[in-house]
Amino acid sequence: MKLRTFRRHLREGVKNIGRNGWMTFASVSAVAVTLFLLGVFLILAMNVNHFMAHVESQVEIKVYLTPDAKPEQVKAVETALRNQSGIKSVVYVSKDQGMEELKKRLGDKAELLEGLEKQNPLQDRFDVKTYDPHQTPQVAEKIRQIPHVDEVQYGKGWVEKFFDFTRMVRNVGLVFIVGLAFTAMFLISNTIKITIFARRREIEIMKLVGATNWFIRWPFFIEGMLLGFLGALLPIAVLWVGYHALLDMVRQDLSLFFLDLLPVTPLMAQVSLLLVVIGMLIGMWGSLISMRRFLKV
């Protein structure tokens, strides 16, 4: 292809956006609405994931030491824990601190514990967090073998179920997002197909006048890319502004304290990039495949 021909295709592709005025409007708005939907769900999914990761990171292993452990043995356990791979943090909690915690937990029934302070029956312990909370059961198993460790508690049973739940939410979310992405792709390419179907006569005429398939395809290709690009711009702008507004609202409304939303910057950039890429790729691809039938003249 000569350079001037390429420039011609570019020019025609851009001009077609205007030439097909109403059709362009209809397909760009279909692309925009579809990508907006996808964007909203991406943002939602990423925030839910973030929230779940936050809750998961609260899971910790309580390592109780034998009551007779001497200070240097406690030190040894701590060293062993710190050398254990996969462990993020280790916090020492003496039995006196433990009693305070228990009192807090019982609240107004704490008086039941009165008199127990002197002969405190609790044990010293370490609170351990893992890098990957899902590794908790395995890590707990290893910790159990360290000498002077009496007992290891991490909410066995409950933790596994909680992780089952988050895993399910993640899987369902992933299925939804992937499904939604495919739906968006289908709807966009379907819209483009219909608009090209409406222009099949033109394609046939071009063919009859001696145009090669690629000569016809190029401007459509560029037009499709532009349609996808234009269709992605609007939802990106709306999502950007909307997410900003949401963050502001959450920051101000105290009753939404529990919402720990992701900051704008990496999130929106990722989402925007994804939308633009999907829009443009599907725009091009949709144009190309839907022309095939009409090029056989």
Binding site: N16, E202, I205, M206, K207
Partner: protein, 228 residues
Amino acid sequence: MIEMIDVWKTYPNGTHALRGITVRIKKGEFVYVVGPSGAGKSTFIKLMYREERPTKGQIFVNGINLEALRERRIPYLRRNIGVVFQDFKLLPKLTVHENVAFAMEVVEAPSKQIRQRVKEVLELVKLSHKADVYPDELSGGEQQRVAIARALVNRPSVLLADEPTGNLDPETSWGIMHLLEEINNRGTTVVMATHNREIVNTMRKRVIAIENGEIVRDEQRGEYGYET
């Protein structure tokens, strides 16, 4: 050079449009194709630039066997053939100028040359004043002349014209005919389907008469030949 050997064409709906056409049109000839409505004239012409494919038989255009021609090569065949379609087939979203230019862009001509040549042929068909207008803003005869201009613009070696004067007044028709004659004199093969008795009988050329899908007459310097 166009040659057909025992060509049959049956359309998918079962219509037998051509039944055993054998004909040889030499380079530089001027041929009228005449015959009643629905005789098969357009089908005969459509086979030559491969809009339609024969059900049976062999077709050669400029030495190329159309049946053996690979799909990818068809555009190159068509670039040597200018076609005036019976229904014009103008691109609705391009202006008159752009429509004619399109046929030249296809062969990747330099844009300066395109601009100049398009102006030239639009003058030949007397449509310079309509260059920037869209096809649906033209009268029937004007659309037909755009179709003629587009067929001529690349100086094809073969010109196929299907009823090119059907929507033109006699004076304009004669203008177009003189144009075609001139082009023919410069060596272009011209095949023209027509119902215009006056033209055929005045500008005497070879006449091929088709009736019911068969060639019933083939005369050098023939007459239109259907009496009323």
